[in-house]
Every structure is written in structure tokens, then in C-alpha cells.
Symmetry: C2
Subunit: 337 residues, 2 copies
Amino acid sequence: MQAPFLIFLGDTALRGTDKTGAGLVEWRPADCLAQYRLPGCAVDLGRPDMSPAEARAAGARTMVVGVVNVGGIFPDHWVQSVIAALEAGLDVAAGLHQRLIDIPAIAEAAARTGRDVHDIRQPTRAFAPGNGEPRSGKRLLTVGVDCVVGKKYTALAIARDMRARGLDADFRATGQTGLMIAGRGVVIDAVIADFISGAAEWLSPAADPDHWDIIEGQGALGHPSYAGVTLGLIHGSQPDALVLCHEPVRTHLLGLNQAIPPLDRCIAANEAAARLTNPAARVVAIALNTGAMSAAEADAARDRIAAETGLPCADPIRHGAAALVDAALRAPVPVRA
Amino acid sequence: MQAPFLIFLGDTALRGTDKTGAGLVEWRPADCLAQYRLPGCAVDLGRPDMSPAEARAAGARTMVVGVVNVGGIFPDHWVQSVIAALEAGLDVAAGLHQRLIDIPAIAEAAARTGRDVHDIRQPTRAFAPGNGEPRSGKRLLTVGVDCVVGKKYTALAIARDMRARGLDADFRATGQTGLMIAGRGVVIDAVIADFISGAAEWLSPAADPDHWDIIEGQGALGHPSYAGVTLGLIHGSQPDALVLCHEPVRTHLLGLNQAIPPLDRCIAANEAAARLTNPAARVVAIALNTGAMSAAEADAARDRIAAETGLPCADPIRHGAAALVDAALRAPVPVRA
């Protein structure tokens, strides 16, 4: 997936569906040249608007589909935009369940233009079932009270902070956006169900005892749509440290008429799950997503939640990730074989 | 998948890998004409040994691969047996992760002979993510302290007992063997991870308020290889009643050096998981697999575990499923929309 990128946003009407595009702009800003929006598009990543031909002329190499929709289906009327990009000389990358290359008109255009279509959600390899065996190295996994609550940003910010301290740390991507940012990983919710924990074991293999893998979490144990993915990822990751991600203004689970459970119950549930494969696993900190709050509100939420839970608490974007990293480094790390 | 069947057992050396063959012999005995074993095979289903040609002459229509192996890989030296079956005029059915039709020599033989290859593990349709919405009808799900502990047999025995009482009950298959027995269902561990609970919702749709779906469980919440599948199946099934399956002589998780947790912890973990989508969910009974015990030992285990847990307890094969069904019918069933 060659940079620079043109980020395709379609005519998405719903804010929050552009997390792939927004993640790339945040974490690979220098590579995000422009955005391509259709009439009616309700999101704006703050990049210049360009057509595929304009972006190609300005140096773009790949058009990245920057929006996802529930179920991962690609609307018919976006197909023409993909074909236009291929015809303009751009490769196209997407992270949907549905492979773009399976759409006949796109496959035909790719063959005709000689451009590449990267369907990065599809696993490119087979996995074995998880075996639960302890392995060396240290692991931190972000988990959430809900989906889309900041698990990827938190993991990226923690990995960046650790590396800035000179620690040996890798971000391990488990979603399509994380994979586009990191350039490697496994889209864990696209794996065959039998191999969720096995794929997670593959993703963070045995490493040097001082090495940290900072693993991007997926879904939430308390979300009835995706909790199976979350549990398999927890078991396979064998985290020493868990960081629980929370958005204080959110009251209900994403897309559902169901209240988010209290933080203490989320902490207990995630620790109980993780201790099946790592008895020392512990929630060491709370990461907040305070994007919808003022600075004063965010600080107040941080202080209130730290007092409530007795754990360090910070918005890794607003407050920095130092408090979260400090907490992870204080966590007891078991001796591993 | 047309009956009668020739059950292929290969040269499997490990007892316990023949659960597909054994399940068909137990639950569709009249359809299991013969078994086909290669030299060195350590299992015996008690059916006449026949070659594919002999079985075809005796009236068999389909050779069913009756053994599974960890990871679902089909050994190269079994490929010739499949080709021999196709050449003898039999269709072939298998429930492995690896599709037989993807093996070039088998695909060639199927095309040449005009026979069908049924890879029944592969989902034949797409699913939506689960939505967790309550739906009408009653549901019972079997869960286990471990894998391969009797969840399918228990569900089949409960469904049979309910129907014998004149109740409106369906067995809902979630594994390859269950699907071969029932002729329909979804192999839930072969679904894309994002859609586990959605596939489970599809499997037991809204039904008449008095209808019972008896759903075959998969894996175990306490097994680090497969717990993600188990959790998604629990959430999507929204069971009113759970029956926890246990094998009293077993001490460690299948394939792992890890002790099986105490029954009270298994009960609590399964109820906590199920209550996310059905707050009234309750473990109503314990089903035992006493196949490795004498009659006296089995009865003693039943009485001991009933006293320990305060729940009705029975081996549905040895003692009959009546006590388990009675417990389910006593369970409070919430009013559903």
C-alpha cells in the first residue's frame, strides 16, 4: 500500500464511519495528501478535496477507502469512484469484509489498468487454533467498555510513548485501520471463528523478556455483537497489562439500546477473562476518549474516574500517554518460560 | 447428502477423533451402512468393513468422512480414498476446515465422475452482525466445562425427549456432525469471527412463544482455544435455559495441561455471559457423560454432583434426558416482545 494517499469518503452521511480515514490522518499525517468526497458527504478530514485524477497529478499513489459501514458492504454507487481511481493511475486499498476485487467491474478495471487492489481485511495466511501456552515477552492489550471507544488510539499512543522512552515496543494491529497505519498485523474479526485466539498468538509471538507488544483491542466483552472476537483476542494475547478504554459521555452500547455497564464490572470481567491464559493479568489504567468534552470537563472526568477506580486515568491524546505507560511498567510481570 | 452412508475412518490412530462417524451411527443408525478403514485404523464403529466399491454395490450413496483432526487438515494419503469413492459412484461429504473440493486431485475426480463433494463446514450464506434484540420463543443451549464433553448428544437427547412429550422442539446444529445428523444448521466455528453471534441469531429465529429451540453448544468458556466461539454462540442464542455438560472422570482441558475449573465457577461464568442478552438465563441442570464409568460409578457421580450443585443431574444417554427436560420446563421464561 504505497503512500501518499487519497482518502475516499464517499457520500457517507454518518459521522463515526470514517475511522479508517481519520486514523490515517492522525497517525500517518504526512502520507495523507487529499480527500475525495461525493456530493452529500457529511465528514471532513481537513485535507484538500481532490478527484482521483487531481490527486494522481499531485503525487498520490493509492486511494484508500476511508469509511466503513455496518456489515462491511460496499455501496454500488461507490464502485464508479473506485474505477475512476484505477483509471487515473492509483492503486486502491480497502478494509471491508466484502473484497473489492470480487466486484466484477472493479476486477475488470484493475486488470485493464494494471493497478493493484489491496483488500487488506482478508487474512493472507492460515492460523492454528490457540494453545494457551505461556510465551516470553511482555504484552499490553487495550480493551473497552464498548466498541469504537479509543482502543486503537490508546495502543498507538502507548507504543509511541514507550519508544520515545527508548523501550523496545511494537504496536500490534488487529483491525483494518490499525493494519493500514502499521503496515502489518491481522484483522482479527475477519479470521475464521475457530482461530481467533490462534491468530492472536501468532500476532504477538514469543519475544525478548524486555520487549513490549502493545496490542490493539477489538470490540468489547460487554457488546453482544462482537464479544466473541474480544474474548478470543484476550485469551490469545495473554496480556500482562490491560488498559480499559472508556468514553465518559457515552451511555449506551454502540448501535444498541443497552446501557454500558459500570467501570468496576468491566474491569472485573476483563481481568477474569484474561486470567485464563495469564493469571497475573491486571487492568493497570483507564484510558479516556474525551474528544466530545471541554478541557475542564475532560480533566474533571479524569480525576473522578481515577478516584472511583483507584487506577491511573488519562486521555492519551489530550493528556498524553505517560500515566498509562507508567502504570504498565509498574505492573508485576510474571516469569515466563 | 444422500443416505445410506459409508463412514470413512482412514487410519486414525487416536480414539476421540471419530466423533462425526460415531455421532452418525448413534443418531442416524439406519443410514450408516458400513465403515471404510485403512490399515492401522484404531477406531471401530461396529459397522461392516467395506471398500467404496463394495459399499456402492450394497446401496451406499455417500461416503462421509467420519474423522476430524486438530486444525482440520486432510492428510494427503486419504485423498486416494476419496478419489476411490468418487470413482465407485459415491458422493463424498466432509466437515473439515479445509475444503476437499480445493484439493486439485479430488476436484478433478469429482468433475470426471460427475459426483458431488459436500464440504458441509463452509457456510453457504453470509450473516449480519448480531444485534442482541430479544426474540420470541424458548431456547435451551448446552454448554460445557470443556470441549468434546457431550454437548451435542445432550442437545439431541433433550430435543428427542421433548418431541416424545408432544412439545414443539427443534435441535439446532452448530457443528459439522450435528449438521450431518440434522441435515441443516450452521457450523459456527467456521463463520467469520465478526458474525458469530449474528449466525447464532439466524440459527434460532423468532418463533412461536411455546416453541423450543435446543441449540448444540460449541467449545467452552474456559477453554483458551475456542472460548470466543462459545461466547458469541451464547450471546446470539439468548438461551432461557443452559444445561452444563461435564465428564466426571476428566481432570484437564482437552489437549492442554490446564485443570478444568470447579463446576460452580463454570455455572457462574456461563450464566454471567448469557445474561448479557437474556437477563433471565439460568443453568437449569447438569448433563454428565459417564461413558467411561461403570453403572454404579455413574449413579454415584450423578448423586454427588446433584448434591454439590443443587441442580438436577443425569447422563442423558445412560439415565435418559427426562430430568434435564423437566428442569428446563420448570425454568422461568421471560415474556418476550
